[in-house]
Amino acid sequence: MKHTFFIYYGIFIALLVQSCAVLPTCTNSRMPTVEIQVNNTESNHDDYVTTTGFISCRARIVNFNKEFRTGLNFPGGTDIEFRNKRLSTDLIISTTSSGTSSSFFATLPGNGGWFNFFIRGNSLSTQDKSSIIEIATAGATCNEVVVARKGLMVSNSPAPIPNTNPQVAIEVGSISTADDYIAWNPVFSRIKWLNPGSPASTLNVTIRNMSGFNRLRFALGTLASGTTATNSTINLTLNGDGSWVSFYVAGNNSNASLDDKDAVFEVLESTNLLARDAVMVRIRKNANTLTTIERDKYLEALREVHQTYNFYMLFRNSHSQNNVAHRQAHSGSAFLPWHRAFMLHFERLLQASDPSVALPYWHFDQPSPNMFNANFIGSNPTSPATQAIINASNPLSTWQIPSAALGIRRRTPYGDNGIPSSVSGTGTGVATETATLALGTNYINFIGMEGTIHNGAHNNSGNSISWVAGSAAIAPQDPLFYFLHSNIERLWGKWQWVNTRFDATQASSYDLQGGHSNSPSLPPSISPNRTFGQYVDDSMWPWDNKTGTSQGTGTLERPTVAPLTPFPIVLGGLMPFSMPTVKSTIDFRVINFGYDDFFPY
């Protein structure tokens, strides 16, 4: 009975996500959900390839039908690119069994039909599932969104799983691999037996981390709200009728992934290995501790978002297009929820470019020399120079903001190895994490962090001509902005965890309960808390696309445009909906992100 419930629940969620998901880089465009099969089988026991021979593979669009079968979502098919994951050449990927290319363009049939292709190894994998077939959209518009990544292994040794073993199919999240990026929260998953002898037979299996990996935890049955998967091993019984059996998978506290598909789990029948599958425990990490690979992946994704596809300016403009926009995001109770949505939107755009990237944070009360250097966010210049020093080999070396000066304008009073001390005055600069968490146990106290911790971090991050310290309007011109705000986000998340403040219906979690009453006339020096978008049930600009001064009977005090609509919904990340409310941002644990320094359960 319990399993049946989960099956229906899983199908419901999968259908909902597939029908709603939109391209983060292309508003109002539906994202194709793509399934890839290696060796043309649903099972991944045979996802192994040598460097000598090609194997057949296929891919198809799963969400090809419109809701209620009223037509096709992608009539004429979807243009895509098959390729290795970024900067990798592990695989030869070709439309023929004799090709030499590492990528090709094609059109996936719009009616859900399979597209056949071939792969062979070009170089040996470092570990199981580390070689990756990637599929990205490649239309005239809305392109270069990674919609699938399938991990496999290039090895010239015999494959570890015999064909004679029982075969299983596994789905983490949905059938797509685009949602195989998990955090600390439990992700609905399921498994079924593909080749049972008879409908009445059963197969007892164990799910566990692959030896040498300990990145995952599992759970069975119903998980209480606010809990996550914590078992290193689970045992299930699969049915001979081919029905799905559900389980949960979550990241193992303090053991986040270092690279894509490095969280490998396996399914065993007694000691017989039946399958291996891989996901990524994708967690926001301290920028100062990123590996070189993590750092470079972030910089390349940022390059693509800003330099190649020019989306970055939308974020700058939305942050504070003028004082009206400023009021939606600053000086009020919604400062933290608004920025949570803003940062998540930016992160999802980066992940459309590279799903294995997460927003790093700048722990601004600790020295971060690995971050403030010429290979990352930039090193401090010597006066009178004002541009952060960036090595030519860094993708940020060609950074320029239209209509502003080139480079990144930043001179830090604290050099490369300090923390933001006061630019002027007598103070200590930024508050420590403990001093921030000590602001109080209720939101109304903690929100004071905007004026003290947040403003202090900005103001002390650079001298007066530094973008990040200049004003809310120009601060996002410096990519450091996102590192700083990721830390603001982390501090709020940690405060929520420490004080158990995830319930949006409690004033202790968010002070302005209910909805805005649309005050009919507002004074020029309006308190931001009287504007629409500050109350817990309100939707937020710009994602709700409510613009202008007039709405219903009252006053919205909104900008005339909404540059970032709608909010991107992605597979595995339904929340906080395409039109986020304040409420939908409060419990970040269901939004599928987490931080490396605390486990919010």
């Binding site: 270069e144 390059r303 400023h326 080139l406 002027s424 005055g425 003290t452 103001n459 001509i465 004003s471």
Partner: protein, 346 residues
């Protein structure tokens, strides 16, 4: 056996929950201890029977105070003329959040801030405070800023011009432009003026910055001008001549290339091969060329149309194989990255 497994799982789960709770409790405890310490240190600061040094030393290390009663007492200290400027400045530093809640208090801060005769330590604290507030609740206190454009302290002039220009204040902008054109009317030096002007929403400073770029003999001024002038159509040819010229220093060529690129993205790609073939081009300049090539040719729209490798692809391939001009490791690595990201069809 089954019971044992369940028991082990239960023990394991409760161990995790316990560890989590312990960690949380430990953080909560450290928060409480910290608040108690701040309370005690704030009490020392409030108590004027201690020496000035003792009072300052007690509170200096803390960014914020938490107790409402102590905040009121700090405010009284800040406003008290019987206290020394050092004490008042230090007190103010701990109660920034209170300033927004009290208009009279805020007005007093602005008075101190705008008056050059305010004791320096107290005035500098107001500068820090107003810089903080300008980020959210008080984006501009423009009247006060206007009165300070001739402030005797350069730091304050720089601050108010920056804030005025960011807020689109045309009067401040014109003062800076006039200063660029006429040395006798300069309120701040040209480099700083250009830096501030570059953040102005209105770009009417371009002609003055361009003129300075053409005429100045000062390398720093010229470099800042080049970095700022990319959006000025009249400067386009000059920027091009700079980044193409073997006679120019590399730092000028590099900046001119990016400045040109910022407003002429597609057109820039026409010059990339020429720069890679230029024996006078520095390694850094050639790496920038490859970076621009990645930015532009990475787009699907470009790659789908590129049926065969072009001259630029071949030049970069040669660099990746260490057969280019002036090759070094960074150049080779960026060239290899280009091939992986662009995937030209050779």
């Amino acid at each position: 056996m089954k019971k044992n497994i369940i028991l082990i799982l239960l023990v394991f789960s409760s161990t995790i929950v316990f560890a989590q709770q312990t960690k949380k409790d430990s953080i909560l405890k450290s928060i409480e201890e910290y608040r108690a310490m701040v309370f005690k240190d704030a009490s020392t600061f409030i108590n004027n029977s201690f020496s000035i040094e003792e009072r300052i030393k007690a509170i200096q290390k803390h960014a914020i105070i938490y107790d409402d009663n102590q905040k009121d007492q700090f405010k009284r200290i800040v406003l008290s003329e019987r206290e020394t400027p050092e004490i008042r400045a230090m007190g103010l530093n701990k109660i920034y959040s209170e300033v927004d809640k009290d208009e009279k208090f805020f007005d007093q801060i602005v008075l101190w801030f705008s008056n050059p005769k305010t004791p320096k330590i107290l005035r500098d604290e107001t500068l820090s405070l107003i810089g903080n507030l300008s980020f959210s609740s008080r984006p501009g206190i423009l009247d006060a800023y206007h009165k300070m454009v001739e402030d005797p302290d350069k730091v304050y002039r720089e601050f108010v011009f920056t804030k005025l220009v960011i807020n689109g204040d045309s009067r401040a902008q014109q003062l800076l432009i006039k200063g660029l054109e006429d040395a006798n009317s300069r309120l701040i030096d040209p480099i700083l003026s250009i830096l501030i002007l570059s953040s102005a929403p209105k770009k009417d400073f371009y002609p003055a910055v361009y003129k300075l770029m053409l005429e100045t003999k000062n390398d720093d001024e010229r470099l800042i001008a080049i970095e700022t002038i990319g959006g000025y159509p009249e400067a386009k040819n000059k920027l091009m001549s700079i980044f193409l010229s073997p006679e120019e220093k590399s730092k000028f060529r590099e900046s001119a290339l990016i400045a040109f690129y910022s407003s002429n993205k597609q057109e820039t790609t026409k010059y990339l091969s020429r720069l890679l073939l230029d024996t006078s081009a520095s390694s850094a300049l050639q790496i920038l060329v490859i970076q621009i090539a990645i930015n532009e040719k990475k787009a699907i729209a470009h790659r789908k149309k590129a049926n065969r490798a072009d001259e630029l692809d071949n030049l970069i391939k040669a660099i990746s194989e260490n057969k280019g001009i002036n090759n070094n490791n960074d150049q080779v690595n960026v060239a290899k990255k280009y091939l992986l990201l662009i995937r030209p069809k050779f």
